[in-house]
Amino acid sequence: MNRYLNLLDFTLYSLLRRKWKILFLMLLFSYLVFLFSSVLLLTGAIKNEAKKGVRALPDITIQRLTAGRQVPIPAAYGEKLREVFGIAEIEPRIWGYYFVASTQANYTILGYDNERDAWKGLGRIVLQGTSGVSLGEGEAILGEGILKDRYLRLGQTLSLDTPSQTTKSFQVVGAFKGVTNLLTYDVILLNQRDAREILGVEEGFVTDFSVYISNKNEITTVAKKIMQILPGTRVVIKNQLARTYDMVYSWRSGFTLITLLGCLFAFAMMVWERASGLSAEEKREIGILKATGWDTSDILIMKSWEGLGISLTSFVAGLIGSYVFTFVLGAPLLKSLILGWSVLYPPFTFTPSVSLDQILVLLSLTVVPYLIATVIPSWRAATVDPDTVIRGV
């Protein structure tokens, strides 16, 4: 043990002779790790946030297409769906968007069905106002973003325009709790009849159907059956929705990482430069050590300490820095690149999500090449005759 500590001491003294060069190298190393891991951590966290709700999604969503565009689907299709064996629940939904020109924001309007069992939990996520969670005509439950956007409080009135240019007023009877902001910040929950009127969805039609399957292993089979009995519909299964999150957020992180590739190439060039040969000073040092009785193994241990000391400490420092930057400071600047901006941005906290494979990828891209670039040239120099190395022949 003492031998290794003495070797470590010697290595560190050797590094201290080149302290400014080593300090710059460690700063560069940490910065590279910091940049790449910040992008990966932020992307991982937002994907994780989006995927949290996937379990509660409907197993199948059915939309109707006409001329390649989605159009309202006849409510009568629900009766046809009941013929399909394996379907546990069918939920016709009325929903859509409402654009507000003054703030350039889009609200999401949802039709609420008081009778639907699955929606009985509404009271747990809503701060109630003047009435219970059953939503009567002329009443609305709003997301926090809309309350702020329209300067509204519980009990006040929200006015919305119908497609026929008439204005309809709704009493705000509840507000979604902040805990659901990421899902409900821009949502207006209305009675189904009111939602129809505001969105212009005719009687006998709904926006789409949500379908829940009894046996989750049969989702694909049931989806195929639905496509057979309801031609002209688009049948989307839950797995496809989950994969979308990977694509949507991965392209943004990929784009950002591409812009950072220059840093990685610069680092790779520096490593390549080192791997292609030691400096004359380093060669002379190895030659002197060999001449004074050091074994090749001692020199390799010393150089391994040097490589590990520089790369591992820089790596861990960069990793800790990126964690604090992303999850404590909120990734200033970087969040604009990864998340963009919007009119109604919900305030929320990301749950840290660090996966081992992300760390291993970074480790293999930075620490491993650096270690190889330190040890291999030293091994080459250590196996040459000391006299030749010292003379620099």
Binding site: L57, Q63, V316
Partner: protein, 115 residues
């Protein structure tokens, strides 16, 4: 010579280096503890989030609401880009790195932590 030896034994670099490594290890442990605490808090809120997903019918995040065709990225909708007129200026929401002017003094930036 004696003073040099003394100074070297007092500031043994290996001890300083191992001390620095220990500090980094403590930093990693603190990050881990922070992550565990945040994950526990998130798990407590999971049932409420699931109710919201069930009611909204989608787990799409409400962070892109300046364009209809981007609010629900997993579902197609009746909206398309440039739908007001061919080639007309569209309400495109997610510019990279540039922020929009504030509307009604609302925050247009994602904020982490307390609003």
């Amino acid at each position: 010579m004696t003073s040099t030896v003394r100074r070297r034994s007092r500031f043994r670099p290996a001890a300083l280096f191992l001390g620095a490594l220990a500090l980094l290890a403590v930093g990693l442990c603190l990050c881990y503890a922070h992550g565990i605490k945040a994950a526990r808090h998130s798990a407590e809120q999971a049932p409420l989030r699931e109710i919201a997903v069930r009611i909204v019918g989608s787990s799409d995040l409400a962070i892109y609401n300046a364009a209809r065709y981007l609010r629900h990225v997993t579902l197609t909708d009746v909206s398309t880009p440039f739908q007001e007129c061919p080639g007309c200026f569209d309400y495109f929401p997610e510019a990279m790195s540039a922020n929009p002017p504030g509307f009604n003094e609302l925050s247009t930036q994602m904020s982490f932590g307390a609003p």
